[in-house]
């Protein structure tokens, strides 16, 4: 049976333990010293519900000076681990904005996301309660929530299994609505156009389809027009994190959907 690949991106503030978590998961080692990340990638194969999955994990920089690169990461990822430290309240607050950014770039409220409260072993230094973060995750709707410790490896595997399941669920949901055969091989227009070889991202494909780069307004009105996302109403008003690029002409109808 073919092994599926999953592109997972780890995001969060500096020093919360993103690398420690990822390295614990992929190599079974705890990183004791702090070596700030610029951009690292890892791979590990696991079985989830009897299926073999290859996890391609991108560990990103939390140091804020590098956040300019985030947009690219978000575009390329399928599932996201949003990590904070239970000892650092500000790191949780940063995630609220981050989640908005993910949803905006992904053009959806249903992006596979796991909220992760790391350093749970540091009980004496805790400043964020379990319940509080749990509530936040519930407000986010689809997100799951775990407290982990990269030091003791507690719940580390759970986090990754959960994100894989979320990606699977989302894919089966979207593929059933387009009535494709299951499993669906990733194609530029139906998946988030992540190319597995990392350097072959094809910009012309995403431009052609108006996906990936664009932020289609019609899709945002998902409460009223859910299921109509692919009905040819992709608005021509693209929003990307970097900014709006207004087009000269708009197709009529794009705006009606909003109201």
């Amino acid at each position: 049976m073919a092994t599926r690949e999953y592109n997972i991106v780890v995001l969060g503030a500096g020093g919360v333990g993103k690398s420690a978590l990822t390295v614990q998961f992929s190599q079974g080692v705890f990183l004791d010293s702090y070596d700030p990340t610029i951009e690292d990638s890892y791979r590990r194969q696991i079985d989830v519900d009897g299926r073999s999955c290859m996890l391609e994990i991108l560990d990103t920089a939390g140091v804020e000076q590098f956040t300019a690169m985030r947009e690219l990461y978000i575009k390329s990822g399928q599932g996201f681990l949003l990590v904070y430290s239970v000892t650092d309240r500000a790191s949780l607050q940063e995630l609220i904005k981050l989640r908005d950014q993910v949803c905006r770039i992904k053009d959806s409220k249903n992006v596979p996301i796991v909220l992760v409260g790391n350093k749970a072993d540091l009980a004496h230094a805790r400043t964020v309660s379990f319940q509080e973060a749990k509530t936040l995750a519930q407000n986010w709707g689809t997100s799951s929530f775990y407290e982990t410790s990269a030091r003791t490896a507690a719940h580390v595997d759970d986090v990754f299994a959960d994100i894989v399941r979320q990606i699977q669920r989302r894919e089966s949901a979207s593929s059933s609505s387009t009535a494709a055969t299951f499993p669906v091989p990733p194609t530029p227009s139906s998946s988030s156009s992540y190319s597995s070889n990392g350097h072959g991202r094809n910009p012309s494909a995403s431009e052609k389809h108006g996906h990936g780069h664009s932020y289609s307004i019609s899709a945002l009105s998902d409460k009223r027009s859910s299921g109509k996302r692919n009905s040819g109403r992709n608005s021509d008003l693209p929003v990307s994190k970097g900014g709006f690029e207004p087009k000269k002409k708009k197709k009529t109808g794009g705006l009606c959907v909003i109201l």
Binding site: D40, S41, E64, M69, S221, L255
Partner: protein
């Protein structure tokens, strides 16, 4: 902008005759003569700048310096404008997102203007402004308050606070005095952080207000121009070779190998012969992968080596302030963690210099304006690798998280020593305390200090100070608290359109300030005399050819003064000569006063007095003569420095010109971006407007439409005004609290109209009164922003409005299609 430019170009270091001639002899008995030589050194350190700022002199150097000043002022002003534009773009972006999320795109907001237009009536009154002048004077000259605030604020409060600090209070990026004050603020902040950190390892690595502060600093003009000179060539080289693939991660190389094989097999997966996905170990062991990897590793090393060589050889170009911060980090680490190994100290310096300053610019050169185009996929990866290796070099991690990075272990070993040396060399800069002390004194006596500042910057700062006043100063009589008390409660900030930029003069109303401050700073009138004298001599000498008799070494100050004073050909030189003579006289008198004070004792007879009088004059003369000799040699040094200054100024000009060109370009880009945003908004409005009028009629049905006709015209976007009773509003849950007696409530009513989609004017009226009690203009995105920042109540003086319901209500009543 005009005010900022004027401010920046006004000479701050010019000699200050008004103070020099003021009777300031407050020499106590403890003062002794050898002090004067120390003071002279202090004076010396700034007089270079003082002489440079004189506008009377018209030689090449002076003209070049004028050009330099002009450039610096322009850069300061331009980078502030860019900062504001960037913020506007961000702001508009997030507001658009808010609007869309709320499915209200057609009811969008007014475009954000590039410049704020002036509005009458929104300024704090004259008296208040005077208090604010005092307040900001204190904030600027007593940096500990801002330092403390930095440690108290949340990250979300930090952005606008930093804008005010970096670009307004200390906005003159090239002005020594403001720079020094800013740096001494850093010192307190850093010291605080070292004090309060429990974990050495996360020091300077986590995102804290302090790290934000320091990086904002690195992004000002001088840091920017350094990055350009140290990195631009190398980055452009990589960027220009867009097709060079230097991926060295075996997993990624394996993917390439697989794709090649797949292509060779004409897309037939079963014919490829190798698995599509493998583990890191398998990929790293693959022969073909290793073959591809080897030369790439070598090339990456070469490129990194050239980056590193350029960085180390540009040591002298690193701005003073940034090096000074490195120095503080080293000193604080050694002081607080004496057992720290040398390598750990270096890695902390690296955590600032490389992690926060150099590497971010390498990996996203576009956002640092170092390249024109955003790097493509491959150059981007190469630049990331370069940054990763430099990071490893600076931090020397014990463990390679990604095994393939071990390929560079040899490179790291070979260069580690040089990296540590470089990091230590960065710290080798002098302190500025002596000149700072003197500068603050000069500043006190200056009358033309002012800030170019927006009203809301003033008000927000006031709010922050109010919120944290206890933590800032517990002493009720401290100047800060006295002024805060006088100012009263901080008013809310103004709506964006009323938020104009003003020139706020800075002064201190505390009478005794100069003396107190002088005492604190241990500075005397003699320093001022010496500084001015030195400056005058340098000016005189620069007005004559080098071969002139008075320019012969050793310099004879008396000769110079007499020559200049009697020079009939040039009136301004003549005046300078006279000034110099009178300065010498003052200087002598000062010495005499000091000596006499010291010699006096109550039990002296007349005879003794005479004897003492003679001794006093003899000793004063001796002191004076000594000082003249010292002064002459200082002036000679200074003239020598001026020679090299000529070259330095020329090279500074060319580098600053290119910085200015880049940020001006960026400015054009930002303005373009803002214009696109705005035109996008206009588009949306036109679209919604076209379908609007019929629906507006329909909506107006149950309401009292006072302007029936105008709202029907296609062009006008006006809806309303509609009248709403308080009962109606209360029923909707809009009114949260009444601040009027109950029996009056029913006489209150609202008039609401919407002049364009998303913009509402709400008037509160009282039955029988023709004038409006209170009127306010609300934008949809203002309301959304309030909700987002969890502001739920809006105070209308007579009533308090519950924002979420208000939003619902307005949307319902003024729905347009």
């Amino acid at each position: 902008m005009a005010t900022a430019a004027q401010h920046a170009s006004s000479p701050v270091h010019s000699p200050v005759p008004s103070v020099a001639s003021r009777p300031t002899s407050r020499y106590g008995s403890g003062q002794t003569q050898h002090r004067s030589s120390r003071h002279s050194a202090a004076a010396y350190s700034i007089s270079l700048t003082a002489s440079v700022d004189d506008s009377d002199i018209d030689d090449d150097l002076a003209r070049a310096q004028a050009r330099l000043r002009e450039l610096k002022a322009k850069i300061s002003a331009q980078s502030k404008e860019n900062f504001l534009l960037e913020r506007d773009v961000r702001n508009l972006d997030s507001r658009i997102a808010l609007l869309i999320e709320n499915k209200l795109a057609s009811e969008e907001s007014e475009p954000i203007g590039i410049t704020n237009e002036a509005r009458e009536g929104s300024l704090p009154d004259r008296r208040k402004l005077d208090f604010y002048s005092n307040l900001f004077f204190i904030l600027q000259t007593e940096p500990q308050y801002i330092a403390t605030l930095c440690t108290l604020l949340s990250m979300s409060e930090m952005d606008s606070f930093l804008q005010t600090v970096m670009f307004t209070i200390y906005g003159n990026q090239y002005e020594q005095r403001e720079e020094n004050l800013l740096l001494s603020m850093f010192q307190s902040v850093l010291a605080y952080q070292f004090e309060s950190t429990t974990e050495f390892s996360s020091l300077l690595r986590a995102n804290t207000p302090v790290s934000r502060l320091m990086t904002t600093y690195t992004r000002r003009g001088p840091g920017q121009s350094y990055l350009k000179s140290a990195l631009a060539d190398q980055i452009n080289y990589v960027n220009d070779h867009a097709d060079v693939n230097l991926e060295i991660n075996p997993l990624k190389i394996y993917d390439e190998v697989f794709q090649d094989a797949l292509q060779a097999a004409h897309g037939d997966l079963s014919a490829v012969g190798i698995p599509r996905v493998v583990s890191s170990e398998v990929a790293a062991a693959n022969e073909r992968v290793r073959e591809i990897m080897r030369p790439r590793v070598e090339l990456v090393q070469k490129i990194t080596g050239s980056f590193f060589a350029k960085i180390t050889s540009s040591l002298h170009l690193v701005p003073y302030g940034i090096r000074w911060i490195c120095k503080q980090i080293r000193a604080l680490t050694r002081r607080r963690y004496p057992a720290t190994e040398e390598s750990a100290v270096c890695s902390l310096i690296g955590a600032f210099f490389f992690l926060r300053f150099i590497n971010p610019a390498i990996v996203s050169p576009h956002s640092y304006m170092l390249v024109e185009r955003q790097p493509g996929e491959r150059p981007r990866r190469t630049l990331i690798l370069v940054a990763k290796i430099l990071q490893a070099l600076a931090n020397d991690p014990a463990y390679a998280k990604e095994p393939y990075m071990l390929s560079f272990a040899g490179f790291v070993d070979d260069n580690k020593a040089q990296m540590n040396k470089f990091l230590n060399d960065l710290c080798e800069v002098p302190d500025f305390h002596e000149s700072l002390e003197f500068d603050s004194y000069v500043a006190l006596s200056k009358t033309n200090l002012e800030l170019s500042i927006t009203i809301n910057e003033i008000l927000s700062m006031h709010q922050l100070l109010e919120k944290h006043s206890h933590a800032l100063s517990s002493d009720k009589r401290s100047r800060l608290n006295v002024i805060l008390r006088d100012l009263g409660q901080a008013p809310p900030v103004l709506p964006r359109k009323d938020n104009i930029t003003i020139a706020l003069p800075l002064f201190s109303r505390f009478q005794s300030e100069i003396e107190e401050q002088g005492q604190k700073l241990d500075i005397t009138a003699i320093d001022l005399l010496l500084t001015e004298a030195k400056s005058v001599v340098v000016q005189i000498l620069r007005s004559v050819p080098d071969s002139h008799a008075i320019a012969h070494r050793p310099l004879d100050l008396k000769l110079i003064a007499q020559f200049a004073a009697s020079d009939p050909s040039d009136q301004s030189i003549g005046l300078k000569g006279l000034r110099l003579l009178s300065l010498s006289e003052d200087l002598f008198i000062h010495y005499e006063t000091i000596i006499r004070e010291e010699a006096r004792s109550p039990k002296t007879s007349q005879d003794e007095e005479d004897q003492i009088d003679y001794e006093v004059r003899a000793r004063s003369w001796q002191l004076f003569e000594d000082m003249i000799v010292t002064l002459s040699s200082e002036i000679e040094d200074e003239l020598a420095q001026l020679g090299s200054l000529r070259e330095k100024v020329a090279s500074d000009i060319s580098s600053l010109e290119s910085v200015l060109a880049t940020i001006s370009e960026h400015n054009v880009y930002l303005k373009g971006q803002l214009a696109s945003y705005n035109s996008y908004l206009t588009n949306v409005r036109l679209q919604s407007g076209a379908q609007k009028s019929t629906l507006a009629d329909r909506r107006g049905g149950g309401l009292l439409d006072l302007h029936g006709k105008s709202s029907k015209t296609q062009k006008s976007q006006l809806l309303g005004p509609y009248k709403f009773t308080t009962q109606a509003m209360q029923k909707e849950g809009v009114i949260a609290v009444y601040n009027v007696p109950e029996q009056r409530v029913r006489n209150l009513y609202f008039m609401v109209h919407s002049s364009m989609p998303g913009s509402f004017t709400i008037g509160l009226h009282y039955k029988g009164k023709s004038s409006t009690l209170i009127e306010l203009n609300l934008k949809l995105d203002d309301l959304l922003e309030m909700l987002r920042s969890e502001i739920h109540l809006l105070d209308l003086e007579y009533v308090k409005i519950y924002v979420p319901k208000m939003l619902e209500f307005l949307q319902k009543q003024f729905k347009r299609r």
